[in-house]
């Protein structure tokens, strides 16, 4: 572990505010991706009461879609992200109606089924794409220098896309009939059913949108890091922490939790080490699950 932070930066005490600005920008950018992942995860749990362990693998499918479409076939990057997201979304609908449909409300068996899907998808990708880490040429390069902090353009693109997706998702929830139905099911599935909300339609839709969000995140992040079969494990972990922080099933909670975790991790990882930051993430989860299981904004479980 490196020393506490004042001693860490012997050379540039003047740069302290510079460093904080950089930490803030790093944290925001990472936080936005966490929000994208957590949103899909919490929507699926909120509507179907299933902890979607396969969420990381949906992210991976988005990544490999970018590898094929943008990397190999040379499509336009932005078109690739949209196609990848909707492709994974459709795949999610398929997964729900074929496999997960039988587990609604059965939390533990549902979780184990999600695990089974995760294992299968990851192994399948490993067979088709091989074990090595692959990269795609960078669609966006260059850096925006804000003086105090430096933000790579590709991170800005990811941030921009995420904001667009969040806005679209918020609009869908607030102003469309299905969005209203989905919020109702999240609050109280029995009551919603009584009001004529057909779960047979809302559940696949919810899982589809959740998958779309995860696929989109994967597609966006593919060029920034490398693409490999177990690339979904770490984002899955982060989605876990964020959703519990914000409150399982709470959509605003996922947004708040995502940004909060992004900033907290960025600060501790820069000041101390990534392992310390990860530990703090898990410690937060343990504390919250014990003292406030419904998280910061969640409704009573």
């Amino acid at each position: 572990m490196t020393a506490p932070w004042p001693a860490v930066l012997p050379h540039c005490c003047a740069g302290r505010h510079m460093l904080l600005a950089q930490i803030l920008s790093n944290g925001l950018m990472t936080g936005l991706v966490y929000v994208l992942m957590a949103l899909g995860f919490t929507l699926i749990f909120g509507v179907m009461r299933i902890v979607n362990f396969a969420h990381g693998e949906l992210y991976m499918l988005g990544g490999f879609a970018t590898l094929i479409l943008f990397g190999n076939l040379g499509w336009n990057y932005y078109l690739t992200v949209v196609v990848a997201a909707f492709g994974v979304g459709l795949f999610g609908v398929l997964l729900q109606s074929l496999l997960l449909k039988h587990f609604i409300g059965r939390e533990l068996s549902g979780m184990i089924m999600a695990l089974a899907i995760a294992i299968t998808l990851q192994a399948g990708a490993n067979i088709i794409f091989g074990p090595e880490e692959q990269s795609v040429p960078r669609p966006v390069t260059g850096v925006l220098d804000l003086g105090a902090a430096v933000v790579p353009y590709d991170r800005l693109v990811v941030g921009g896309f995420t904001l667009v997706i969040l806005a679209a998702f918020w609009f869908f929830l607030q102003f469309t009939r299905w969005g209203l139905a989905m919020r109702a099911v999240t609050q109280d599935s029995e009551m919603a059913a009584v009001q004529g909300v057909r779960p047979g339609f809302i559940h696949p839709l919810a899982f589809g949108i959740g998958s779309l969000l995860a696929g989109g995140a994967g597609a966006l992040m593919a060029p920034i890091y490398t693409i490999y079969s177990y690339m979904g494990e770490l984002p899955m972990l982060k989605a876990f922490v964020v959703v519990i922080l914000g409150g399982l099933g709470s959509i605003p909670g996922a947004v708040l939790g995502g940004l909060l975790l992004g900033l907290v991790e960025s600060f501790f990882a820069t000041m101390y080490s990534t392992t310390v930051a990860t530990m703090i993430g898990f410690a937060l989860v343990i504390v919250i699950l014990i003292f406030r299981p419904r998280g910061l904004l969640g409704r009573t479980a």
């Binding site: 979780m111 184990i112 089974a116 294992i119 192994a123 876990f240 519990i244 898990f282 989860v285």
Partner: protein, 331 residues
């Protein structure tokens, strides 16, 4: 008559490594023994309706405790081995009272986070746990000065360990303690209303289950002679659950059958490396969808023991939720 048959099978199981001395299959036998014990420890958790992802960490605690006791404190193997289980159980006793208040999916997520923190401690605290490199040169088990190096001897140790674990868990289920924890999972409110201190029983089950995982860890450490943190991560409890689901949760035979089926799978498919994991996933899906009671549940139904099957089904994977629904309805 049944006892005679059991003894015969046991003798057969014990003798074959000496007759048909194929080292690699003996290695398989040892790993099967290990995973039977691990799967049984998870079966206990599923029996109290609380799937735990911390059992990889408990296995690790047992492994490191026993390894460090023998390597650095010079404690003789038998005591070190026992201390492995006790170390895991005492940590379980420490966190149990708080964790066990939380139920179902939240408990799974909580134990997941706890497991990751424990593994991160193994990685970060390099002076004690050896960091990512783990510990090397863990002495082989030695009983009264006789060091166990030959593989068949290890196989015997594994066999006894697995059989003892099975007997212990089965005894628990058939005893009054078993009746209590089944009642708690079946209908906790009613069980408490007639005098059972449910949290304490659940804690006792959690500690024993952790101890069993700890002993398995100690066994694993002294068998492989080295351990590293990632062996105790998230995938170990996942495998325990897979074995239980495939074998059947309702009876202690489930983990045994599941382990005997699943442990050799990676080695049988050794040449098709990636297909091992794929087969794991697909098998799990098939069983969850079509055979929720696992192989043992299936066998029972074929043998027409309807009553046992029906009462067992009450606690099967499918039934895992019925208990919940009932509790919710009654609450």
């Amino acid at each position: 008559m049944r006892l005679a048959a059991a003894v015969l099978i046991l003798v057969g199981l014990a003798a074959w490594p000496f007759i048909y001395d194929q080292p690699f299959y003996v290695h398989m036998g040892v790993m099967m023994g290990l995973w039977v014990a691990l799967a049984l420890s998870m079966n206990l958790m599923l029996r109290i309706g609380q799937l735990s992802f911390a059992h990889g960490a408990f296995m690790g605690l047992g492994a490191y405790a026993s390894a460090l006791a023998t390597m650095r404190l010079g404690i003789p193997f038998p005591i070190a081995f026992l201390s492995g289980g006790l170390a895991a159980a005492s940590v379980a006793a420490l966190v149990g009272p708080i964790f066990l208040r939380i139920r179902g999916v939240y408990f799974a997520l909580l134990t997941f986070a706890f497991g990751e923190v424990v593994v991160l401690t193994f990685v970060e605290w390099v002076e004690v746990f050896g960091g990512n490199n783990g510990l090397f040169g863990i002495p082989k088990p030695s009983l009264f000065g006789l060091q166990m190096t030959s593989r068949p001897a290890f196989y015997l140790f594994a066999l006894t360990f697995a059989v003892l674990s099975f007997i212990a868990v089965r005894a628990i289920y058939n005893s009054q303690f078993g009746a209590v924890i089944t009642s708690i999972d079946d209908n906790e409110m009613l069980t408490r209303s007639i005098g059972i201190d449910a949290p304490r029983y659940r804690l006792a089950a959690f500690c024993f289950s952790a101890a069993l995982a700890g002993w398995s860890g100690a066994f694993y450490a002294h068998y492989l002679t080295f351990i590293s943190p990632e062996a105790f991560g998230f995938w170990t409890p996942v495998n325990m659950v897979v074995i239980n689901v495939l074998g059947g949760i309702a009876s202690p035979w489930g983990p045994v059958v599941g382990a005997l089926l699943l442990v050799p799978l990676p080695e049988i498919l050794r040449d098709a490396k990636e297909y091992q994991v794929l087969s794991y996933g697909i098998l799990l899906m098939i069983f969850l969808l079509f055979l929720p009671d696992g192989l043992v549940g299936l066998a029972r139904r074929w043998r027409g023991r309807w009553r046992a099957a029906r009462s067992a089904e009450g606690r099967s994977a499918a039934g895992l939720e019925q208990g919940k629904r009932e509790k919710r309805a009654a609450a």
